[in-house]
């Protein structure tokens, strides 16, 4: 018997809300401040990139992939180009694969920077945000020097790269690595052993490894649950099979472990970049690509490890037109976001924003 008659409070978090990282709408049913149920409403940023891509020729689509995960354009470029290369069986020169690896690892650092900044800000630590943007800016400078753009890079082409790296760029990347290594402890000083940070993140949104796989988590959220799943290791692409790096995993599967995993990924990314810079081979940056790109009829699925998780492309070519017959993206943010209602159930409103932050979504990619 309930002594008092209580109502649930339905609160509409988003689509305009400072912590939903874009136009995400979460309809929360609350008992006091406790979340009883949640419905995630997406699609506010749906631009029909999959449909559009079926009407753009193969090279033009690179530009569309920029606009999916717009804080991590280079990895989207890479995923798409490699899928088409796989479909056409094009051999990419080793130098191009090395540079692609460097670019996508720089991109991973930049994306994690943005994640850490906004995630910490959601939990109230505003200084971390600016520290991270300070370093992210340096990466954007490097990208600008390489391809002229700071956000939507279009930094790759089918068969290789649009152009070779500028002279002195490799040295600047090394200098950045040295600098960035000294900056990681700054973030850790502010957060890792901070009592409040730990209280806010530990044992929140816990998910076991098996559950995480079943519900479709990939990337750092999955590794935070202790599953050593990383496309870079499991199905190496670009030049990852030539480098030595570890896949950090967590144990508890809570927000804190996901944080630790991503922080360690900073270091592993630096390790990969340094190896790639040190062993950067000479040679062309574009493989043997026909002037008119028209892959033979067939379909393929190819996945890479984007900063958010497994970014897959399923592309069908009819072998006749110069546009893909079917272009499908398996967006990691979309699949990871699916776990949100399960993760926040029973937690408080304040944990909802921490959860959204910890699964690191970009709405451009969720809605496409």
């Amino acid at each position: 018997m309930s002594l008092f008659d209580t109502d649930e409070l339905v609160i509409n978090m988003g689509p305009q809300h400072p912590s939903t990282h874009g136009v995400l709408r979460v309809v929360l049913r609350l008992d006091g401040e406790r979340v009883v149920g949640a419905d995630v409403v997406i699609g506010y940023l749906h631009r029909g990139i999959e449909k559009l891509s079926e009407h753009r020729d193969w090279q033009q689509i690179v530009m569309l992939t920029d606009r999916m995960d717009y804080v991590s354009a280079a990895t989207s470029n890479l995923g798409y180009c490699e899928t088409v290369e796989k479909l056409m069986q094009i051999e990419v020169p080793r130098r191009a694969r090395y540079i692609r690896t460097i670019l996508s690892e720089l991109q991973r650092i930049a994306s994690h920077n943005l994640w850490l900044g906004t995630h910490a800000m959601d939990i109230g630590a505003m200084t971390v945000f600016l520290y991270n943007f300070r370093e992210r800016e340096l990466i954007l400078d490097l990208f600008e020097e390489f391809c002229g753009a700071r956000l939507t890079y279009s930094s790759m082409r089918i068969g290789g790269l649009p152009l070779d790296i500028p002279s002195g760029w490799a040295r600047k990347v090394s200098a950045f690595c040295d600098l960035f290594e000294t900056k990681i402890p700054e973030y850790e000083d502010l957060l890792t052993h901070n009592r409040i940070w730990k209280e806010r993140t530990r044992n929140i949104g816990v998910i076991s490894g098996a559950d995480a796989i079943a519900i479709g988590l990939t990337g750092p959220p999955l590794r935070g649950s202790g599953v050593p799943r990383d496309v870079r290791k499991d199905e190496p692409y670009a030049a990852y099979d030539e480098f030595d790096f570890d896949v950090p995993i967590g144990s508890a599967g809570d927000i804190y472990d996901r944080y630790l995993v991503r922080l360690e990924e900073f270091r592993q990314s630096l390790r990969i970049i340094r190896q790639a810079i040190a062993g950067l081979p000479e040679g062309p940056v574009v493989g043997k690509v026909p002037r008119l790109i028209k892959p033979p009829a067939g379909e393929t699925y190819h996945a890479i490890e984007s900063p958010k998780g497994e970014l897959g492309f399923f592309i069908v070519s009819d072998g006749r037109s110069n546009v893909p017959y079917r272009f499908r993206v398996r967006p990691p943010s979309f699949c990871n976001l699916q776990a949100l209602p399960r993760l926040i159930k029973g937690h408080l409103v304040a944990d909802v924003v921490a959860m959204i932050g910890s699964i690191d979504i970009v709405l451009g990619e969720v809605d496409r």
């Binding site: 749906h46 009829a297 379909e299 393929t300 699925y301 079917r326 976001l337």
Partner: protein, 188 residues
């Protein structure tokens, strides 16, 4: 824009070359569930199994639980529209095993408005993916817990990823017969 005599009627789904060894999980599946797998195909490194729609759930459960398969992750569910074909949709599932680190693609062919059994009971991750396929192609999923539109507004008419749906949206371009749009694209 490509100018072709007629819209294609389906993917080639080429059979595997004779000298290629078939992955270990396929033949146990075929012996456990005879006639479920109608075709095995291989293209640029990807293995594909085409499965009878009514056997899909059995196949999926087997792939999920069998030791040598143990596909514990359903990475992607999507569809391709081949309008000239009677069973116009290919619904394809991209599966991955975190244990064996292998992949397979499972496809079923369904006609318009024919329901596909939902695999959400096997992999909860298929929930939103199937909703997206429903939203984009109008393929209903039997046994799905929450089959609503996901990316398009709830009151949206039509299913954008179908080939007979114009890129510019339904608007004034919506022709009397949706197949006219296809003809516009594939015939000069």
């Amino acid at each position: 824009m490509g100018v072709n005599p007629a819209p294609p009627a389906g993917p080639p789904d080429p059979p595997p070359p004779a000298d290629l060894s078939v992955p270990g999980f396929i033949s146990p599946l075929q012996s456990a569930l005879p006639d479920a797998v109608t075709q095995v195909s291989y293209w640029v490194g990807d293995w594909t199994m085409i499965v009878a729609t009514n056997r899909l759930l059995d196949v999926m459960r087997h792939l999920r639980t069998a030791q040598e398969a143990s596909f514990d992750a359903c990475c992607d569910v999507t569809a391709t529209d081949w309008p000239p074909r009677a069973e116009r949709f290919d619904v394809s599932y991209a599966l991955f095993s975190t244990r064996h680190r292998h992949r397979v693609r499972v496809k079923v062919r369904v006609a318009d408005s024919q329901a596909v059994p939902s695999v959400t009971s096997v992999w909860p991750s298929a929930n939103w993916l199937e909703r997206e396929v429903f939203d984009m192609f109008g393929i209903p999923f039997d046994g799905h817990p929450d089959l609503r539109r996901i990316l398009m507004p709830d009151e949206w008419q039509g299913h954008p990823q179908r080939k007979d749906y114009p890129l510019e949206g339904p608007g004034e371009m919506l022709l009397e017969n949706p197949m006219d749009w296809l003809r516009l694209r594939y015939e000069p």
